[in-house]
Symmetry: C2
Subunit: 255 residues, 2 copies
């Protein structure tokens, strides 16, 4: 008799396309270490025979792998597609998509920056070497010089400062998140910033803030440095945030 003591649980199944299986096979080989960056894949026509599918299917698989940063195909290359070293590019792409599409408010993005930047500076004040401190101070000098040139130049120098801090914090995830969110924020308010009349005063104030941050880093006071950094971001961006949405930002500054 067929018992029915325990009802069998079936799970919904979605069709697996041929090109997906190819992607899986190649990614698995990569995860197992059978394929390493720098190596070459066989040519598309060779893969056709190995996987026993058409070239269209092989190509769709290669396009997926390529968009994920796993391989790169070059026309005419007799060695075939190249296995690439791992890069944060695709991760950044996904995060940008998250920040742009997921109906995020400007206030959320700025709060995120305050958190990330503060944490990076807190880490930096603890982990920095003397050489790295000197590097950071060097970027301050560049900022001061940039003030007399151009707002774009100042912005560039500012980016250099934050990149130096991120390097010191030795956390590439923080670094990547920060860069992505900074880019998205700038794309949201770049037009408004361009119209700022008192840009020179803004730049001077920003430089002043950065200098205080570096002083706190030199003193090894991570908590003060982080707080200053968050305050700086708040002062810089708060005017673009509607008043009721500023509450969470202030919550990140008060102790």
């Amino acid at each position: 008799m067929a018992g029915r003591v325990q009802p069998v649980r079936f799970e919904p199944v979605q069709p697996v396309r041929a090109y997906q299986r190819i992607v899986e096979q190649i990614e698995d080989a990569l995860a197992r270490g059978e394929l390493t960056p720098g190596q070459r894949l066989p040519s598309e026509r060779e893969l056709v025979t190995q996987f026993a599918v058409s070239r269209s299917t092989v190509r769709e698989a290669l396009r997926v792998l390529e968009s994920n940063g796993v391989v790169r195909s070059r026309p005419g290359d007799p060695n075939g597609p190249e296995i690439l070293p791992f890069s944060q590019g695709p991760l950044r792409k996904q995060m940008t998509r998250l920040a742009r599409v997921d109906e995020l408010t400007l206030a959320e993005l700025i709060a995120f920056r305050m958190i990330m930047d503060g944490a990076a500076i807190q880490l930096a004040s603890r982990l920095r070497t003397d050489e790295q401190l000197a590097e950071m101070e060097q970027t301050l000098v560049a900022m001061r010089e940039a003030i007399d040139i151009d707002f774009a130049a100042f912005s560039e120098a500012d980016v250099a400062f934050h990149e130096a801090v991120a390097r010191v914090s030795r956390n590439s995830l923080i670094q990547t998140c920060n860069e992505v969110v900074r880019g998205v924020v700038l794309s949201l308010i770049s037009d408004k910033i361009a119209h700022a009349t008192n840009s020179r005063a803004l730049m001077l104030a920003s430089l002043e803030h950065h200098t205080e941050v570096v002083e706190a880093i030199r003193a090894g006071d991570g908590h003060a440095a982080a707080r200053l950094a968050r305050q700086n971001l708040y002062d810089y961006y708060a005017t673009y945030v509607p008043e009721p949405a500023r509450d969470p930002l202030r919550a990140l500054i008060d102790d």
Copy 2:
């Protein structure tokens, strides 16, 4: 006379494939809001005429978009490919990939969690309403009950707690990042956790920590709450991090 006062700077150029232009057009339309999740793309054959390319090219573009979680194609669907809402799937995939090859270390991921979770709790302690505080305390009760059931059940209740906190913090970017990184961390050390012998003691300690955090939130002491949360994560995960890499984690706890 052709002057050569300022040498022209040329930049390296790499060929842009047709399918990439299609991807760009669709992604741009999405970024501009002309395409929103739930809408449908024209059928492949219709896209062929709109983009004036072959179906192979259109399909390669769709495969790329599909692997990035932007659209989904179903055979036979007369409405055409569907624009998907944002999903953390691809983001997690990229992070997991980087974490597996040591491009991201476990220490970096945990530091990230300590920062994000601490910030979320700091925000929550400032922004919470009384009802939300009650909700969080309710999840603590669920955690206590789960201890007697199963480690998986406890883990689930823990997730519920953190989700409640993230809701209160009213920042979906923090929430998403936290979820993604938690998933990646778990996938990296799930095998080791399964072998933990003193899991009951771990669960009790974790519950104790969470209770303290909620107390600090009730008191409105965001700084203490955040510090406790970071300490909790450190105690929970530090054993899986090699000693020299724990320094940055400790730097996030010390005041």
